[in-house]
Symmetry: C2
Subunit: 390 residues, 2 copies
């Protein structure tokens, strides 16, 4: 199974030569299906989704219509594929240029993996408690830079930054460029009014779909700058997302019970029917697998993440992106970033070509993948190659 | 002098009853001038700015045209006011509803005041160095929530959050609601390409104009959540900005040499002709002045802030908002937030009605003001009244 059969049907957007979105497409196996063409023929009218949203350049208007609208279009497309009426709207995926599928509103990155938070805490704060005092009481997060979220395939320029050093800080290209393997939730509408929280049981309805995320990080820059306001230039140069948004309904079969939380969170974060996603995750570096994990072990659920971000009355807008933070497992080799895999660079990885990596080298290509345990539903892969610093 | 005479002419946007922007206006004394009407009559054609940008609902397209375009329109409007041709496009400011003047791209909040950083450091980290190790080497900042930036006059709902307490964390309305008196830079186009930094000497050209900012803060929420990823829910519920964007050219007369920096920053942050803004700032609480300061004392300049945010190659888009962080002076009574003014709530302020405030009470109204030393140019005031928690 490919992971992109009739069970999946994720949404994306075609791009012109400059990378601008030019129309919504659905992926089916190794083809893309032109949603505008189907809509123009009236074949999606029964979904109740306005044609303007379906004939738009990207997913923004469809996201505003909400999760139910996305599910309805996906079901209608499945029916049209099954009875052959979608045939003439199909074209090969190969050679199709894909755009960032939606305009990112706010981009939030959580810290939801207990193993990741503990591992990083040990390295960044060797003299203190590994886990921050608040960690088990709320899903810690920061706002990232929405304007530098890019689609899979976009090359990543090695950033410069102010690096700490024995002779004092210096300005240089990062020497600790890293990837972070994460899942991301794409919010759908309608937006909650300012000042009105989104309850944890209402959060599911605001989750339009799921993407895979690589939150590129410059560890030396991050480490020097992060007290007390958190990561900034060590993260803001680029975040890559998959070209495909998998609607939450396509992942019904991957829902599992989440891990137990100790202590129990505050009442407003306790869902009636909590769920995690049983997705197998992996990262490849130069074509060789360097980590393999699973998102079912995340401590904080996606519904808790979204409800926490809105519990102060902050508006969640369609197109807001909520990433989980690095997904790391308890086993050696299941950590979701090089910082952990190489223990801060002290235990370099041996690649297939015999070279070693503490952190990413210029020219390196990283690919992230995710799929359900039975392989029927995959997220879009996220790739990026490192360009040398300017 | 009013601060809104012919020397100023800031840009804003009219709002409909729902708060949506419906057209660009310029403020002149106690009137607003309809830019769409002038553009439709061809009176702004000589500026070279496309009519579509001038007839738009808000400033987004004008910001994309860049700082020079804004300055050209302002000059043309001044000439039309001087010779009487703008007369019939004027209407009273009173009764005019104003919108958030532009769509906020990314919202960044700096920590550029040495006094503020030191004061807060002493309170939040009593056992450590008040000033973070990196503070004098780079302008520390975090990304705030763009989706909750609201225009002056918008009521602010007291947020709930997870608060620390002797019996363990609890979920409750904040008990330490605060304002922060800040200046903000609104970025103009054209955007730098991803991966290409903006030099400190190129930064001025990207500064379209200046707004006044109130970065509302829930200190108890912030204090519990901020390690290690920085403030999140303690800030993200609301940030208020003035309805008027004062173009940088209108502030030529307020430019002064900035304070000396020790140690000198890295070469890429050293401007040939550095400048600060000599603006007198004040905050009123329930109509009485509670602080008065000046932005000329900010340690990090606006050009350095913008250049730092882009030095890793991050795109600066038109509509990105860069706030200075709380502007505090060295003298008692010149601190830009209640946390400092009341020493963490231990020395409450006495208001004119005889009541005391450690932090903001429901029903309180806060107003921020700023003007040049000679009073000729004012920023738009920023007001907000506190609604009780939901």
């Amino acid at each position: 199974v490919s992971g992109f059969g009739i069970e999946n049907l994720p949404f994306g957007a075609r791009a012109d030569a400059g990378g601008a979105a030019t129309g919504i497409v659905v992926r089916f196996e190794d083809s893309v299906l032109d949603v505008r063409a189907l809509a123009a023929d009236g074949l999606l009218d029964d979904t109740g989704v306005p044609r303007t949203a379906l004939e738009a350049a990207n997913l923004d208007a469809l996201l505003a219509c909400g999760r139910v609208a996305g599910a309805a279009v996906r079901e209608a497309v499945a029916a049209l594929l099954a009875d052959g009426r979608a045939e003439r709207a199909l074209s090969p995926l190969a050679g199709t240029r894909l755009a960032l599928p939606f305009t990112v509103g706010d981009y939030v990155d959580f810290f939801a993996s207990l193993e990741h938070a503990t591992n990083v805490g040990r390295m960044f704060r060797p003299d203190g408690e590994a886990l921050p005092a608040a960690w088990r009481h709320l899903p810690i997060a920061y706002h990232g830079r929405a304007g530098t979220v890019v689609v899979s395939g976009t090359p990543i320029r090695r950033p410069r930054g102010i690096l700490p050093g024995p002779a004092g800080p210096r300005h240089a290209p990062t020497e600790a460029l890293d990837f972070e393997l994460e899942l991301g939730i794409v919010a759908g509408g309608p937006a909650n009014a300012v000042g009105v929280p989104v309850g944890v049981d209402e959060a599911d309805a605001r989750i339009f779909g799921v993407v895979l995320v690589n939150d590129w990080s410059a560890r030396d820059v991050q480490r020097f700058e992060y007290v007390p306001l958190g990561p900034f230039n060590g993260k803001s140069f680029a975040t890559s997302v998959s070209a495909w948004v998998v609607v939450l309904d396509a992942l019904e079969g991957a829902r599992v019970a989440p891990v137990a939380q100790d202590p129990p969170p505050a009442a407003h974060l306790q869902a009636r029917d909590p769920w995690a996603l049983d997705l197998e995750l992996e990262a490849e570096l130069q074509g060789g697998r360097v980590t393999a994990g699973n998102s079912r072990g995340l401590y904080w659920t996606f519904a808790q993440q979204l409800a926490h971000a809105a519990e102060n009355g902050a508006t969640i807008r369609p197109g807001d992106l909520f990433a989980s933070g690095t997904v790391s497992g308890p086993a050696r080799g299941s950590e979701g970033c090089l910082l952990e895999l190489t223990r801060g660079g002290t235990e370099p990885l041996l690649l297939a070509d015999g070279s070693e990596r503490a952190f990413l080298a210029d020219g390196d290509e990283v690919t992230l993948r995710a799929q359900s345990a039975d392989g029927t539903v995959a997220l879009g892969a996220v790739t990026g190659a490192i360009l040398p610093a300017h």
